[in-house]
Symmetry: none
Subunit: 197 residues, 4 copies
DNA sequence: CCGTAAGCGAGACGGTACGTCCGGTCTTTAG
DNA sequence: CTAAAGACCGGACGTACCGTCTCGCTTACGG
């Protein structure tokens, strides 16, 4: 017996769903998170407000889903593995730095982060759907390095990831310092020293 | 010639200022950042809305100031220095972990972080008024450890601080893992190994 | 060739029709006209909204029909004819007063009147289907009185009916005075005096 | 001690009040009662919705007040008194017929009547503020006729008014017959015959 | 020491957006 | 092919706050 108050997902309009997620992403890029309203998303998407409220519990959830939709195809994500862990990590970290520097990415990702910080449910969803797959790919590369003797065999890979990425992420979030390639390199070197065999 | 539109700070009512900052902090603790409105702050403080708008440019600024007011007396902050850098850092990190675990601190600090992430001006203010003094105290202890040969002489102390604190901060912000004393210890050990002489 | 947009009455579900009309009357009694929506009628009747829109052009039409259904059997309506016109009219008028006093009748009839006032089409339908049969029965009794010399031979019976009923109806609609049996009697007496031979 | 939830009438903006009442009357004339929304009134008046909700409990109340505002100046209403009651009443009744024929009056008055029928509070207000003054003026003329021996000395003037006006009013409300000057005359003659000395 | 200009509480104002309800249309599935 | 179910677009509802704007009223200078 299903709860009659819940909408029936089978009848959901795919056209509307896409229009809403697209509109959400566009508006966030154009106006910034705070100035985007559910009304403006509905208007831009050519959709009734109720259609948004029927399927999402909050503005944050819509925005979150608009990100999820973006990264839908990237299932089999894989990091470079040249055999040189330090070089590979630097490549990846520099790419992350570049991403943060791109204003088209900046605004929406920042908006997503604000949402996540304030909403535990969204945070959990974020970890499951967006962060974990990426982290697993990174840990796969780290494990490969571990087997190659470039990392301590007993290193806690989650901790390694945090030491590697958290400083970068924090600098970006708080704008507390420049995000340069040198900084990315320094973080890689520091992390590898900390977890050297 | 003074601008007639700018209020005269000399006439400012200290009673109102305190009432507003207190009300802001209380409401944030009770309701969380998002549900606190300027109107509710004014009502709780027994103050006209205009009195808030006269002295603060935004809700974020009020909340920020309410924090500033708290840490006003702590000017001469000083970290313990027993000569054992690792032990001292663990003491401090464990204290930070305890702070994050206290729900009375949690909500307001989280609110402050959300504000800072979204508002560059506030972020700058935060760094100057709140973060820098604390960081300087921490760096002073690190420098002392450096002179004692417990840290590489050429270590970039800002980077050390980031490696030490950012993972903890990120875990808390994203609720991506448990904040335990063991975790605090592990971060200290990892950091010291990374920057060992 | 039939118009494909028009539903085929032959296929109409009698079960649904009754359920809708019953639900409409019940809801009007319970909530009053203004608070009854087509959605609530459909829900109460266990019927899709489309089934209502397929067969009725407006909420008013549904409500109107729900009345029509009630008075379906009363085709051969007939007023008492004891030979004493005044006595017979008083009997009928007192019955009308009693009807208006019954709250179970009050709400729906009031709703019907509001609909009729605002919608000329409905008003025409009302006159044809509901008012005329009753009025004809009344005029039959008046005509009988006319032949008995209790009413002027040239009296306009439509006018007589209006003078007799309109004051009562207006008092009820506007709640501008008490609806008592004395009042009913007074109207009969007044009318008979006005149209005495 | 005043109820703090009630707005302070002293601060009320006269400009807004007039703009709202004017907009309401205009829109009713243009669109009819059912199609006028509070939002459209607010928009037309250049006023925030809250300003309407602050001072009126319902759409009906606004529309009612817009009528009240119209008849504000007509305090000392007085009917013609030529000494010939029948002639004077015919003059007045014909004027009423003409009013009902004017489409500019028709729509708003009809709207007002629908409101009154459905809302007892509004009905009471209507009787006190709009109907009573007019009725008193009419009764004054009737009383004068009574003293001149043109009306039975013991006639209940309220009843006289009802017999005189209710048929006309009902015909108009239900559109159940033509509103002609002959009809007006017939009503006057009928009424005077019913209440002749 | 007194007028006057400021800050103050209160709260009305024009607005924007909220989240809900319903109108009327359209689509899917079952019978 | 009808009917139920219910999603859809649209738009009004009544509420909450926004930031601005008077109101009187204290309160503290400055002539």
């Amino acid at each position: 017996m299903t709860d009659p108050r819940k909408p029936n997902p089978a009848r959901r309009s795919e056209r509307s769903r896409r229009a809403i997620l697209d509109a959400a992403r566009e508006l966030i890029s154009e106006l910034g998170y705070a100035k985007v309203s559910i009304e403006s998303i509905a208007a831009r998407a050519g959709v009734g407000k109720q259609t948004i409220y029927r399927w999402w519990p909050s503005k944050g959830a819509v925005i979150f889903d608009s990100f999820l939709a973006l990264s839908e195809g990237e299932e089999g994500m894989r990091l470079p593995d040249t055999g040189d862990l330090e070089a590979d990590l630097k490549t990846v970290m520099r790419a992350t730095v570049a991403e943060f520097a791109d204003p088209a990415f900046e605004a929406p990702i920042r908006a997503l982060n604000m949402e996540i910080i304030g909403d535990p449910d969204l945070a959990a969803l974020y970890r499951d759907k967006l962060a974990r797959p990426v982290d697993e790919a990174k840990k796969a590369r780290l494990r490969s390095g571990q087997q190659a003797g470039q990392l301590a065999a007993d290193a806690d890979l989650d901790l390694v990831l945090e030491v590697l990425y958290a400083p970068l992420h924090q600098r970006w979030l708080h704008r507390s310092g420049p995000l340069t390639q040198e900084y990315a390199d320094a973080l890689v070197e520091t992390t590898l020293r900390a977890f050297s065999p």
